[in-house]
């Protein structure tokens, strides 16, 4: 039984995300930039995961498979970061508190190792969740 840890998820911009959305969201480079979760060293250790391991991140609102990487802008133990994009948005808290703005930052999530599950491409991930038939 794989270990599961709980962290507070935030999402946001990175410069790699910015470059990737301009080079094409259909491309693997988008997945490389945004289909990741940046975790603090201590949290990776608690999870018992190596760097660059695929993990499944689950919240009350959904779950998604991304690659766990070590935080580039840490330390931030207890906080995990997924760059803004479809991967983060598969699990963020959509509650707007009637302001129009979802709660993109501050979603409690659990992370577990999912070494054999693939990280989907951006467009593919969204189409799959929306049940869009692709010809």
């Amino acid at each position: 039984m794989a270990k599961t840890i709980s962290v507070n998820l935030i999402s946001g911009r990175t410069i790699q995300q910015g470059v990737a959305i301009e080079s094409g969201k259909e491309k693997p480079s988008y997945r490389t930039a945004c289909g990741i979760i940046e975790m603090d060293k201590a949290d990776l250790k608690a999870l018992g995961a190596w760097k660059n391991t695929n993990v499944k991140v689950t919240s009350d609102y959904g779950s998604v498979v991304v690659k766990a990487v070590e935080a580039t802008q840490g330390p931030h133990p207890g906080v995990a970061f997924i760059p803004m994009g479809p991967w983060a948005n598969s699990i963020v808290n959509p509650n707007t508190y009637s302001t129009g703005m979802p709660t993109f930052k501050g979603t409690p999530v659990t992370v577990e190792v999912a070494i054999d599950e693939p990280v989907l491409l951006g467009i593919e991930l969204v189409q799959k969740q929306c049940g869009v038939m692709v010809g």
């Binding site: 507070n8 935030i10 946001g12 911009r13 990175t14 410069i15 995300q17 910015g18 470059v19 959305i21 301009e22 080079s23 094409g24 969201k25 259909e26 609102y61 959904g62 935080a71 802008q73 840490g74 330390p75 931030h76 906080v79 970061f81 803004m84 994009g85 479809p86 948005n89 598969s90 963020v92 808290n93 959509p94 707007t96 508190y97 009637s98 302001t99 129009g100 703005m101 979802p102 709660t103 993109f104 930052k105 501050g106 951006g122 467009i123 991930l125 969204v126 189409q127 969740q129 929306c130 049940g131 869009v132 038939m133 692709v134 010809g135």
Partner: protein
């Protein structure tokens, strides 16, 4: 021979750098080199030239495949969709010029649609706060020329607005700030040790979601009142120390970003930050500015405001304008199942909305106008590729400090491709006929 075009405006982020240089081929068709832009801006200019670009409108078929159609057919489809819908949502607008936005507003008025821009998932809550309490702000040149206290709260310009610090906020030597960075004290508030916080004189590594409390504590500290031992993970002494740093400046600026607009308390975080700015003006001079994301999200708000009276989340369904985020805002409309058609332009809600809202898009008739392939085009029924605004056509845009800057066209779009504005005019004229409008 090549040509160098100077004073080019970068159509990526709200920093709207206007000193970019682009080298193009003699015939003006190929974009060869980009200078002065950041890596993202450079990629934006260069990607416009990619060989695998979609150049024709495509309609999704029953089997899920795409079929190429003409712009005329695409405009017919779009006009019919809008004419037939009871509550269409026209969303995006932040990556196109004000001229296209203006035509879009005519369409929305005729169609009696809801219209909204990307502030919905960016600085919409800032706008709510501004409506509640106001906004003492300034242009970016004021920061460059005067600011000796710079606060980045919940924003990370090193990643999101890469040239902001060198052009306006930290490094430039201005009229009263001849020593550049040495003239300024930098305070960063962020739950992470970001690449921006690494440059700071003071980094407050705040407990995520407690910005409202920390801002309140700073206001209390300014007034010299009682404080609990620690607020948002920051000790009271540290809070008082930072309050003194803020107070001792001659001209201060607070820049804030999605760290506050998208965290718990949202508009209230900004409301309290504006209140702090207002309080600081009792001692010295302070301004506050949202780090707007898309290069022309600000312009969309301006055009909405002068034409309809509200900066975003405008509901025209009753034939006149109404506004109330929570009711008329895109995410709420989509997750509550309030709309029956989706029109997207100049943005990618498919990638940037929570998946529950994206499912709302996939359920209804939908058109996506975008030069790129995106998750939005991936779930839409019609994808209309257009020329890259700011690269293949010009037009007015508004920088994050509301300063208007006219974008330049640097290369020709691929043969036969239309601009946003041209396509929208086709839709508008068809819609007018369908609706019998004046």
């Amino acid at each position: 021979m090549t040509k160098t075009i100077t004073d080019v405006i970068c159509p990526f982020c709200g920093t709207l750098c206007d000193d970019v240089e682009v080298v193009v081929s003699d015939d003006g068709k190929k974009l060869l080199e980009v200078a002065n832009a950041c890596v993202i801006g450079t990629e934006k200019f260069l990607h416009s030239q990619s060989a695998d670009r979609v150049t024709k409108p495509r309609l999704r078929q029953a089997d899920g495949s795409w079929k190429d159609i003409s712009y005329d057919e695409a405009a017919d489809y779009t006009a019919k969709m809008l004419a037939g819908a009871k509550k269409p949502l026209m969303y995006g607008w932040s990556s196109t010029n004000c001229e296209a936005q203006s035509v879009g507003n005519e369409i929305a008025e005729i169609a009696k649609a809801c219209c909204d821009n990307t502030a919905a998932v960016c600085h919409g809550t800032t706008l709510i706060a501004v409506q509640d309490i106001g906004l003492p702000t300034c242009t970016l040149g004021e920061v460059k020329n005067r600011a000796d206290r710079v606060i980045f709260w919940g924003c990370n310009p090193a990643h999101a607005h890469p040239r902001h610090m060198s052009r306006y906020s930290i490094f430039p030597r201005g009229f009263f700030t001849g020593k550049g960075q040495m003239s300024r004290k930098l305070v960063v508030v962020d739950p992470r040790c970001t690449d921006t916080s690494k440059m700071a004189d003071v980094h407050l590594q705040i407990e995520q979601g407690r910005d409202y409390e920390l801002l309140n504590a700073l206001r209390v500290a300014l007034k010299g009142e009682w404080l609990p031992d620690s607020v948002a993970g920051i000790p009271a002494e540290k809070i008082r120390e930072v309050a003194d740093i803020l107070k001792s400046g001659r001209f201060g600026i607070i820049f804030f970003g999605m760290g506050v607009t998208q965290s718990l308390s949202k508009n209230h975080n900004i409301d309290e930050a504006i209140a702090l700015t207002k309080d600081l003006n009792e001692y010295t001079k302070y301004s506050i500015m949202p780090m707007r994301g898309h290069y022309n999200v600000t312009g969309s708000g301006e055009v909405f405001a002068w034409q309809f009276g509200f900066p975003y989340s405008v509901d025209l369904t009753r034939g006149f304008a109404r506004y109330n985020p929570g009711d008329s805002s895109s995410i709420d409309l989509l997750t509550r199942g309030e709309v029956d058609a989706m029109f997207t332009i100049g943005s990618d809600p498919g990638a940037h909305f929570p998946i529950s809202a994206v499912k709302g898009i996939a359920k209804v008739d939908s058109v996506c106008i975008d030069p790129h392939l995106t998750p939005t085009s991936g779930v839409s029924k019609l994808h209309v590729p257009v020329a890259f605004n700011g690269v293949e056509c010009g037009g007015n845009c508004y920088r994050m400090d509301n300063v208007p800057i006219d974008c330049r066209k640097v290369v020709e779009p691929p043969e036969g491709m239309l601009t946003d504005e041209q396509f929208l005019v086709m839709v508008r004229d068809r819609l007018r006929k369908l609706k019998g409008a004046a």
